[in-house]
Subunit: 411 residues, 2 copies
């Protein structure tokens, strides 16, 4: 591929993380250095949908303060999207439109920031552009609090979400000690198929204040076993702190949360809520007072709990994506490999999108305890370095300062 000169198009896709905008910061600040190859940096509004609708943020036209704030801003500052591209052999419509837009805006670098589904989109676009022989470099940038992308030690976004979960568990565990006889507290944590984030609850225990039991989607969930576990811990300590994944499934592969059996006055099954289902069992069947904490989207949005390691890596994968792009590395995702040794260190690299798209990485058995209700030291050693350092929020009057950017497509 010959050296290209043109514009770079970047987009965010899938569920936000508290550091996806730090990756955007890395992309933007690196791209404007490469003036030989890159003229303007456009960012799609709501990911690929913004490309199809011709809605862009032109980055050279933004307030520099708000580009700085990206490092502290949760959510998707440019908007995200959940949009499944069909195979171009099935339906070429979107691809033809994209090609038109790429030509119109002279897009020669396409960077897409997301998780499994987004890497699938990225891969399909890369393949199509090769198919029609349009000169462009497509690079994927990993992100997900679920930490389930393959071929990378971990994903940006996970460390900060893990830090938020671990600190919250630490605070709740300490709070529970207030009373000599307490309750059962069940904290419901995100991650539908992979338990990485739920497992991060265990990191709190390093301080002496953490959960007693952890249930991961990797281990088939048995309600009888759960009841026995709670009976044992509650019997010994008069209180019990439990972390459960929202995605717990039983031996038959049925979600515990959605099989709650609770109906409203109209006969509709209540949606979700594995924690309330389990709490209900403890209250009604075991007469143990319990309560739930459902953190919901705060887990991916808690910018005030960013890990510095995570922010630095999120910025760096953005930068590396630009460097790979200008080198012409088409159809890859940026990866992180842990360097063996006493000190935590990451080596950045790349891996073909073709092997990443739609593959989910779950927790290996060696990181889960024998009883299936906790983690091993191997997990602690793996995850603890990822939550280190604190990216102190930019507070003003006790509230955070987030980026506010302008959609300003330029012809």
């Amino acid at each position: 591929m010959s050296k290209l000169k043109g514009n770079l198009l970047y987009g965010q896709s899938g569920g936000p993380t508290s550091v996806i905008n730090a990756s955007a910061y890395g992309v933007i600040t690196e791209a404007i250095k490469n003036t030989d190859e890159i003229e303007e940096v456009y960012v799609m509004r709501h990911g690929i949908q913004g490309a199809l609708n011709e809605e862009f943020f032109a980055m050279t036209k933004q307030d520099p303060d708000h580009i700085e704030f990206l490092k502290h801003t949760p959510g998707s500052a440019f908007g995200s999207v959940r949009y499944k591209m069909l195979d171009f052999k099935q339906d070429e419509t979107d691809y033809i439109r994209l090609l038109y837009i790429f030509r119109k805006y002279n897009i020669r670098y396409f960077l897409y920031n997301g998780g499994n589904d987004s890497m699938d989109t990225c891969y399909k676009i890369a393949e199509y552009m090769k198919h029609v022989d349009y000169d462009i470099v497509v690079v994927g940038i990993p992100k997900t609090i679920d930490n389930d992308l393959p071929f990378t030690d971990h994903t940006p976004g996970y460390g900060s979400a893990a830090k938020y979960v671990a600190n919250t568990m630490q605070e709740v565990a300490y709070d529970m000690l207030a009373y000599p006889k307490g309750k059962v507290t069940i904290v419901e944590i995100m991650g539908r198929h992979a338990g990485w984030l739920t497992a991060a609850a265990s990191l709190a225990s390093v301080t002496g204040y953490g959960p007693d039991l952890i249930y991961l989607p990797e281990v088939p969930f048995s309600i009888e076993k759960f009841k026995a576990d709670v009976r044992r811990v509650y019997g010994a300590n008069h209180q019990c702190l439990i972390a459960v994944s929202e995605g717990l499934i039983n031996e038959e592969g049925i979600l515990i949360g959605s099989s709650s059996g609770l109906k409203d006055a109209f006969g509709h099954f209540q949606l979700g809520g594995v924690s309330s289902k389990l709490s209900n069992i403890l209250n009604s069947e075991m007469r143990i007072s319990s309560r739930t904490i459902e953190l919901g989207t705060t887990q991916r949005a808690a910018a005030h709990m960013q890990s510095q390691v995570d922010v630095d890596e999120a910025i760096e994968v953005g930068r590396r994506a630009v460097r790979y792009a200008v080198k012409g590395e088409h159809g890859v995702m940026v990866t992180m490999t842990r360097v063996k040794g006493d000190e935590y260190k990451i080596k950045y690299g790349k891996h073909p999108l073709s092997e990443i798209a739609n593959v989910e990485r779950t927790i290996p058995k060696t990181m889960i305890n024998e009883d299936g209700n906790g983690v091993t030291q191997e997990f602690i050693d793996y995850a603890l370095p990822l939550i280190k350092g604190h990216n102190t929020p930019k507070f003003k009057n006790g509230l955070q300062q987030f980026s506010t950017l302008q959609v300003n497509t330029v012809e």
Copy 2:
């Protein structure tokens, strides 16, 4: 009352706040300065229960680092209790025991840190000791995230909880903007009879990212009105962020949360959960996808979100309590009065416990909007100064350092 020389006994009672231990820090550090009056500082384990059981922390015997950490430690570092003292004319047993303990340990200063119920305990002890003519000074120290104590502008603990709620709402609101068409998110906030903490959700809106609707226990809740409000906001914005108090009641005074009508397979009514009740209505009756966030005890435990103003004031009420005590101000609680003027300033004072015990202060009508689904500028002006400043957590390896103290009663 003649000048007393003896020991000081301090205790924590009721639900913890993230700064009640900062008040303990204020008490301890001030008490040891007053060597003319105070010999040793004892802290009861689990409040009044520790006094009855003779379980004390002797503060001069603790690791000074862990006394410093009190400023960053949530929960009740010394243990709390919910114990209702009977009127001594009804049953003198506990009082006789307390008097014995006070004499045995030469307790001449009794400081009790808590909310409404705790001030009742404090008042009863003060009255009894006067009745039996035992020379002691009893002083109450306010705390509660509910902010419902009378005769004080606000209570320590409220500012930090308000800051946590406001920042969380800000993050969730920003996160929701990721998608062009979103969901309804209902965040359930603590405060059974007073909506001060739920109202604090509004502070997020100062930044441009906050809740659309706020429902307080002070306003009788109508499900029809709620549905109309959501229909209007969702129709206009394709998403809606709602803050609800766990203590919402309808016109008949019945809790919305506990009247959910949801039953499990065994016919038991599901406990609590006003947010899931409302979410269920939106999902089933209005076909609007909604989800809930239940912050639970994180609201009182989020030490990582302490407001500096709140920490400073919590320490100061502890100090003032000691100063009132050594001056012989028997049967009062420390209060805070806001000094009129452009800049936020507090004047500390005292008020008789007799008028404080069991009185709850709710939000005045002038702070609630006409529609009953939000607050007025008067509330913002009142609450915003209380969340200012950030008491940066003492992180180590990405986790917080909390106090660990030793129960070490000395004869």
